[in-house]
Subunit: 150 residues, 2 copies
DNA sequence: TTGGATGCAAAGCTTTTGCACCTTT
DNA sequence: AAAGGTGCAAAAGCTTTGCATCCAA
C-alpha cells in the first residue's frame, strides 16, 4: 500500500477535527488498497470478517463523512446502488451497464483534461473540488456474453 | 421545443418495440423542454398536475426504460437521489454539493474531449455508449451563502 | 473527563413488484 | 384480439437515526 495516501487521509481527518477510530482506519485502508470499486455491502462483508461487530451503520456514516471530506468519490451504478473509490489521482472510469463493473483507465493526458474541465466551471464562478467522470457502455466480457445469448 | 429531439426519441422507442403511450410522451417532453435536471419526484409532481392519476411507479419504470435506451442520463446527487437529463449532445455538468443544483456548461471543445475519452475506453475493448461527466464543488451562490454563515 | 463515535435495532425513504384493468398496435 | 403498459397498493431495499455504551483525545 502507498503509505503516503493513508497518512494524508489521516491528516485530513485530524485537520477537520474528526477522530481516528479503528473503523475509520480499516475502511480507508480497504479503499486505498483495493481498486475494485466496492459497494457498501462489499466493504462491510469483507471488513466484518476481520473486524467482528462492525456495523453497517458505521460504514454508511463514514463513507458519507469521507465523501464530504473529498477523500473518496461515489460512483453510481446502473443497478441502483453506488460504488466507492478512494480519490487519489483523477482517472477515467468505464462503467459496464451489463455487469456493473467499473474499470479504471489510466492516461497521462487525463489530468490535463480534468484541469481543463475544472477551469471551465471556474468561469461561471464555480469552485471545483473533485471530478466524477464515467463513460458508460459494455465491457469486453459482456459483449461476448451478450452475443452468445442471441 | 426542438421537435427533432422528440421525434428521434419516439423513433428510438418504436425501433425497440416499445409502445408509445401518453405517459411516455409527456415524460420525455418534459425532459426535453427542461434543463433543470429534475428528481423523480419533481417530474411526478409537475406532470401529475396536468395528467391526473399518473403513477409514481410509471415514472420510475419509464425513467429506467429511457435510461436503458440511452435517451436520458442519470446524475447522482449528493443528497442521495438522482437527477435526470435528456441525453442530447454531450455536455459538462457542474454539481453543487451544497444545494445539489446541477449546472450545464457548454463548450465547443467538449464533444472532442468526450470523443477522446470514449476512444480510450475502446482501447481496452470497451464499447462506449453515453458519458456522465461531472465536476463537483460549490456554486457561486452557495459560496456567498456559506461565507455569511461563518 | 467528556464529547464524539459505535453498534444495534427501529424508523424512514426510495424504488420495485404483483395484479387487475386498460390501451396500443 | 393480444401483448404490453398503467395505477394502485403492498413489498422490498437501502440508508439514516435514536439511544445506550464505549473510547479517542
Amino acid at each position: 500500500m502507498d503509505n503516503k495516501q493513508y497518512e494524508q487521509a489521516m491528516d485530513r481527518l485530524k485537520n477537520n477535527g474528526v477522530r481516528i477510530t479503528p473503523q475509520r482506519q480499516i475502511i480507508l485502508k480497504y479503499l486505498i488498497e483495493n481498486d475494485n470499486h466496492p459497494t457498501v455491502e462489499t466493504i462491510f462483508n469483507v471488513l466484518d470478517k476481520t473486524f467482528p461487530n462492525l456495523s453497517m451503520a458505521t460504514v454508511y456514516n463514514n463513507l458519507r463523512l469521507f465523501k464530504k471530506l473529498n477523500l473518496i468519490i461515489e460512483l453510481p451504478s446502473i443497478d441502483g446502488g453506488y460504488r466507492y473509490d478512494f480519490y487519489d489521482h483523477p482517472h477515467l472510469h468505464a462503467t459496464c451497464d451489463n455487469c456493473n463493473k467499473i474499470i479504471d483507465i489510466e492516461n497521462p493526458r487525463f489530468t490535463e483534461i480534468e484541469q481543463e474541465l475544472k477551469d471551465e466551471t471556474r468561469e461561471v464562478g464555480f469552485k471545483p473540488t473533485v471530478s466524477s467522470i464515467s463513460i458508460h457502455g459494455i465491457c469486453k466480457e459482456c459483449q461476448v456474453k451478450l452475443a452468445k445469448n442471441k
